[in-house]
């Protein structure tokens, strides 16, 4: 197998240029999809027969919860690639992912809490879904704090990568918590096989938001990756010609 493309992609100047070029291709579709999803979710979708208009919170809650896990998976995969193949760019991807994931985990927790108040009568319960998602926020915080606390970059990369990889065990716990334990949190709406539990006019804005948020993550990750590459390569000769323009 020819691995030239892999080595080329892993070279910082090449990755920097690709990230700059690709970011708008993720960003603009994300913007349009999120705008369409917002209109569909807030205006076109009918109120839920049980939850009334409060159900509309799902249009920001579910996509942020999805991103909280997708970003963690991306961060851990990048960390593993960085550890196994000693690829510095992969560590840069992991470092760029952490704050994005933490922000969406916070958003999932906050919107879930606000949704819980009118539906469950409480802002918070220590049930399996909520507690494991809170643990995810602590994992992100731990990965970022560990990286920040070690001055030597290679050691910081390796240590935070190990923690990120160990924390992956939390992802299936979050996902299956609503099935394994009797939780207050409702079961998932979308991943039920063969049983569409949401009407079409409520469903399409949700799918649009999920895709929009996913592309948005791609765009923001690329933007952060550029900054991360600049920080790591600040003395490299290629940088002068690249940013001097």
């Amino acid at each position: 197998m020819n691995w030239t493309w892999f080595h080329k992609l892993a070279s910082p100047p090449h990755a920097y240029r690709i990230a700059s070029r690709l970011a708008p291709w993720f960003g603009w579709p994300a913007f349009l999809l999120i705008a369409a999803g917002l209109y569909g979710g807030l205006v076109l979708a009918p109120a839920d027969y049980q939850q009334g208009d409060a159900f509309r919170i799902v249009y920001v809650h579910a996509p942020s919860a999805w991103l909280s896990m997708l970003v963690y998976g991306t961060m851990a995969a990048a960390a593993a690639i960085g550890l196994i193949w000693r690829m510095k760019l992969a560590h840069a991807v992991a470092a760029a992912s952490a704050p994005i994931g933490a922000s969406f985990t916070f958003l999932a927790l906050a919107t879930g809490s606000i949704w819980g108040k009118p539906m469950w009568g409480t802002w918070w319960v220590w049930d399996a879904r909520l507690t494991s998602e809170l643990l995810l926020l602590f994992l992100y915080a731990g990965v970022m704090a560990l990286r920040a606390s070690i001055d030597d970059r290679d050691r910081a990369d390796r240590a935070s990568a190990l923690l990120a990889i160990v924390g992956v065990v939390n992802l299936p716990i979050i996902h299956y918590s609503v099935y394994w334990w009797n939780t207050l949190h409702q079961e998932s709406t979308l991943t039920k096989i063969g049983k569409p539990s949401m009407a079409g006019d409520m469903l399409w804005p949700l799918l649009t938001m999920l895709l929009g948020f996913t592309l948005y993550f791609g765009a923001v990750l690329l933007l952060r990756l550029r900054a991360e590459i600049l920080r790591r390569e600040r003395d490299a000769s290629w940088l002068r010609s690249e940013i001097g323009r």
Binding site: I34, L38, L42, V43, A47, G52, D53, A54, R56, I57, V60, H61, S64, P99, I100, S103, F104, F106, L107, A110, T111, I114, W115, K117, P118, Y216, A219, V220, L223, R224, R226, A227, E228, L230, R231, E233, R234, D235, L239, R240, I243, G244
Partner: protein, 54 residues
């Protein structure tokens, strides 16, 4: 319009969620752009200092 803002009596819960989401979405873009601008500035300074020292 008032009816829309009222959200069937759940406006006080629905709108803060969308406002928070908007804040997080915008914050991520601004934070990333600022990081990039700062890193670029530092790299340019170092490049300038390096050339001046020669």
């Amino acid at each position: 319009m008032t009816e829309f803002l009222n959200m069937g009596g759940y406006g006080a819960f629905v709108w803060p969620c969308f406002a928070l989401a908007g804040f997080v979405l915008i914050w991520n873009v601004i934070a990333a752009s600022r990081l990039h601008a700062a890193a670029r500035e530092r790299a340019l300074q170092r490049a300038g200092a390096g050339e001046g020292g020669r």
